[in-house]
């Protein structure tokens, strides 16, 4: 049983709703920060404590997204056991913590863990 998807706002609903929703709730809240950066780029110090805090919150939030995608995954990923999803992530994180320039290796190793594990578990 999958939960109901978010319904369109009634008085704005129509054939163009998905485009409107994308512009209002995804493009605008993302793009506004790039615009503000252009507006304030002369006055903002990229190393100020306020921006350091913003950066910390943004990093934690992104990590939170990763955790949510692993724990309650969308689509085909849900067919793979939780332990295997966590293992794939742990392999990636371990490699990155050892050498943070090895992005490609970390991604490939995590993926290989997941695909090989899924292949082995689901083959029966």
């Amino acid at each position: 049983m999958t939960p109901a998807i978010t319904q369109p706002i009634a008085w704005l609903d129509g054939p163009f709703w998905p485009y409107l929703a994308l512009l209002l709730f995804a493009v605008l809240p993302t793009e506004i920060w790039r615009w503000l950066a252009v507006a304030f780029s002369r006055r903002l110090d990229a190393n100020s404590p306020a921006l350091e805090w913003v950066r910390a919150v943004a990093t934690a939030l992104l990590a939170g997204i990763v955790a949510k995608l692993i724990i309650s995954p969308p689509g085909a990923l849900a067919a793979v056991p939780l332990a295997l999803r966590v293992a794939a992530l742990a392999v990636t994180l371990a490699i990155m913590l050892v050498d943070r320039r090895r992005v490609m290796l970390a991604v490939l190793a995590g993926e290989a863990t997941l695909i090989a594990g899924a292949w082995w578990i689901l083959r029966v």
Partner: protein, 229 residues
């Protein structure tokens, strides 16, 4: 010079982001949105996390306000990121519109690679180089999104799962690539740990924001104090 940017993008980064956005196409299909919206989200939002939050939150029935706030917070990082990279791209007499266009391309890949590669490019050629690089990444990503929309359902489950898992794995790897000190490590580990907890206790799609604020604030407090100037 734009060609040099394209060449550097195709040496690896463009392929990684292109593969990473395959999952977004599949997420868009899961909530029944048209393929055009999926591809437009790549070109207009140009931020994998925002796109994932958008489509994945719709799939769980989160409130629109919660979706917009979560995306807003997840994208706050673009403010310091853009502020950091613009000085490298600024030219005398450049219009505000050009700066807005350049800022639009700021996202994890173009930013990390830009900061690394731009200083070696002669200043008058940087804009062309950066646009060549970023547009190449955007092109491969748009193709990836499009393919993901149609392809994932047709793949054997281990490979479909592997492609869906590219998004979290790639995010985590890019986040860790930007680690500078223990505050950043704390932000990642606390964010990973707190998000599932908040998911259990806080409803309406606001759990992610709460987890990010708590984990980020603790991480901020843990950051090493700067050496006295």
């Amino acid at each position: 010079m734009a060609l040099a940017g394209m060449r550097d993008a195709l040496s690896l980064p463009a392929w990684v982001v292109g593969l990473g956005l395959i999952g977004v196409g599949s997420l868009a299909r899961d909530v029944g949105y048209p393929v055009e919206v999926a591809v437009l989200s790549t070109m207009l939002v140009w931020a994998g996390p925002s796109q994932v939050i958008f489509f994945a939150s719709i799939a769980t029935g989160a409130a629109w306000s919660a979706i917009a706030i979560a995306i807003g917070f997840a994208s706050l990082r673009f403010l310091p990121m853009t502020v950091a990279i613009l000085p490298l791209l600024k030219r005398p007499g450049q219009s505000v519109w050009m700066e807005l266009l350049l800022a639009h391309y700021v996202a994890v890949t173009a930013w990390t690679e830009g900061l690394r590669r731009l200083p070696a490019v002669p200043p008058p050629q940087r804009v062309a180089y950066f646009l060549g690089f970023a547009n190449t990444c955007m092109a491969t990503s748009s193709i990836g999104t499009f393919l993901g929309y149609y392809l994932i359902g047709a793949l054997p489950i281990p490979f479909a799962a592997g492609l869906m898992c590219l998004t979290p794995i790639f995010f985590l790897a890019s986040l860790s690539a930007g680690l500078r000190h223990r505050g950043d490590v704390a932000a990642i580990l606390l964010g990973l740990a707190l998000a599932p907890v908040c998911d259990r206790f806080i409803g309406g799609g606001f759990d992610l924001i709460v987890a990010g604020l708590i984990a980020g604030t603790i991480a901020f407090a843990l950051r090493p104090k700067k050496a006295a100037p």
